[in-house]
Symmetry: C2
Subunit: 343 residues, 2 copies
Amino acid sequence: MENSRSTPSRRSSGRVTLAEVAERAGVSAITVSRALKHPDRVSNKLRAKITLAVQELGYIPNQAARSLASAESKIISVIFPSLSNAVFSDLLDGIHDSLVPAGYRILLANSHYSITQEDELVETMLEQNPDGIIITGIDQSPKTKKRLQNINIPIVQVMELTDNPLDMSVGISHFDAGHAITEHLFGKGYKKIGFIGARMDERAQRRMQGYRQSMIAHDQDPDRYILTSLANTSFQRGADMMTELISKHNEIDALFLSNDDLAAGAIFECQRRGIQVPQQLAIAGFNDLEFSKAINPALTTVAIPRFEMGKQAAQCLLDRIEDKPFSKSVDVGFSILDRESTR
Amino acid sequence: MENSRSTPSRRSSGRVTLAEVAERAGVSAITVSRALKHPDRVSNKLRAKITLAVQELGYIPNQAARSLASAESKIISVIFPSLSNAVFSDLLDGIHDSLVPAGYRILLANSHYSITQEDELVETMLEQNPDGIIITGIDQSPKTKKRLQNINIPIVQVMELTDNPLDMSVGISHFDAGHAITEHLFGKGYKKIGFIGARMDERAQRRMQGYRQSMIAHDQDPDRYILTSLANTSFQRGADMMTELISKHNEIDALFLSNDDLAAGAIFECQRRGIQVPQQLAIAGFNDLEFSKAINPALTTVAIPRFEMGKQAAQCLLDRIEDKPFSKSVDVGFSILDRESTR
DNA sequence: CCAACCAATGACACCGCTACCAAAAATTTT
DNA sequence: AAAATTTTTGGTAGCGGTGTCATTGGTTGG
């Protein structure tokens, strides 16, 4: 019904504007604006007329104009180091489900675990005047940290905890988690516990430090049974690294791998080579991905409430935007799921 | 160095503006604008001065103002039915890696496989004046289709193909894929082939129709060995549905499951119950997720180039935005990976 | 019956930037 | 050296909304 609009110049979007709706409804532009933003401040009669005109013309508000006029973009920027990793998918899911019902939109970017790319992305995202930012981890570059602090909008650092957040942090202590799962293995009677890690981002590093501390506490050489790689994690890599480590140290009786992908790869490889898990080798991972409890034997792992963490992170942002009370730091906790791979 | 700005009113963002940069550099605002957008149209001397002023003041352009003035938002909206599904993660990864280097940003939303939510999301996203839209599948509501067509920006429908896209489509024929994998199973000598599907979104439906056509061509009852559910897919569901189907029809010698999650769940269940795969039961999936080749036996499946599909979809959008030649429909193809689960 | 108040509506300026056009400066051509 | 052309810079208006304040009309109470 509203199809034949005049040819849009390079200037105008060619869309229906507030003014046109106003004219159609026989009111002023500002009244239309109010009818849309604060319906209760407009009389029933006018509101009905306006709603009708909006429908008839197919009016779509222009958020750019809104942002400019009211310094509110309704955009939240999210920066993750990976999009294909299930951990971040779940996190994103949680963030989305908190933000969208509250009327916010998500601007998403992938830093590919590169601090340089992260710096650039922050820069670009700020151009959109986001009402808040969710960024992964606590290891931003000094430049970016400064930039973010000067910008004066709510920021959540997600996945990890710190006493000294840019603004707020929501996550867990990866050191504690790495420590706890290693202690758990010692507790079950395993003596020679190996650690395998790939990609070794900051969080994996801290899990490894937790492992090392536990090893030290049990009078073990903290570095002897460690094998790490900067290459990406994958099932294949888990299989390969396990093979490498146990062929070098066949006394190892348990293995903590820095995530479930690696750990599952190790289990699959054991299946192929006829290594009994957990009888000959116990295996533990980190994250509790969906396949972890489905595989044989089911994988012992550290569960973190990813979806919940996403929701919390978003909620912190919203609370802060609305000037409600908020906490600087939210520990969402982890739990050890003891399954067949370490019985 | 640029910290102590005057208190931002509710009106202004309190940020450094172009005008302030201009004053600092001793030039006019428009010249600063040019120096940023078309550096070659400004003399070296001024450009240097301006760059310095930008740095000193920590100037960040305001994209809302840009959008308003030039009817270009540099935003691409992406609507997926799920964020936690690895298929869409990979797609998103591809989209991101094409768009971000070209200076675009991604506004992401999740319709949760709900057409109502999709309608609402389209509505909200349009408020941002996106320069393009990527939306999943070809089954939008009539209302949304109309909306999108009137809006007159490039649109890519991704994942599937159609002769009659809203604007462009990039994907594969799921009917053909379902047909091809079933034919493949017949070709290997299997006679009683079952189909298991969950969630049953439009694409799963079309794969099932491909299966049915193949069954008919081989003089089989197309509906007898079908088991579907509207519930979500998961490893557990694959295990359960397989159990249900083969207990009802123990003559089944091969199974095509509508995705790899279900198929892997079935394989894990066979491992647990001591059912030999493929000797007693052949299993095939769809998608070729990362775990599919790692599990035992490795899963026969239909591979689709998800990352590539995302890149293509984004590229189509970019080509169209830049008025380059483009194709209405891009078939990215699929391939059958014959692995151990159907030997 | 009029002052005091409140709810509903409108006028206007302005958010920060760029399209468009005009003017000035630098360069080339005649 | 003057004219013509090109390059560089600037002035102005306007993109489409909303904050702020003013105005209008109706209601209440003394």
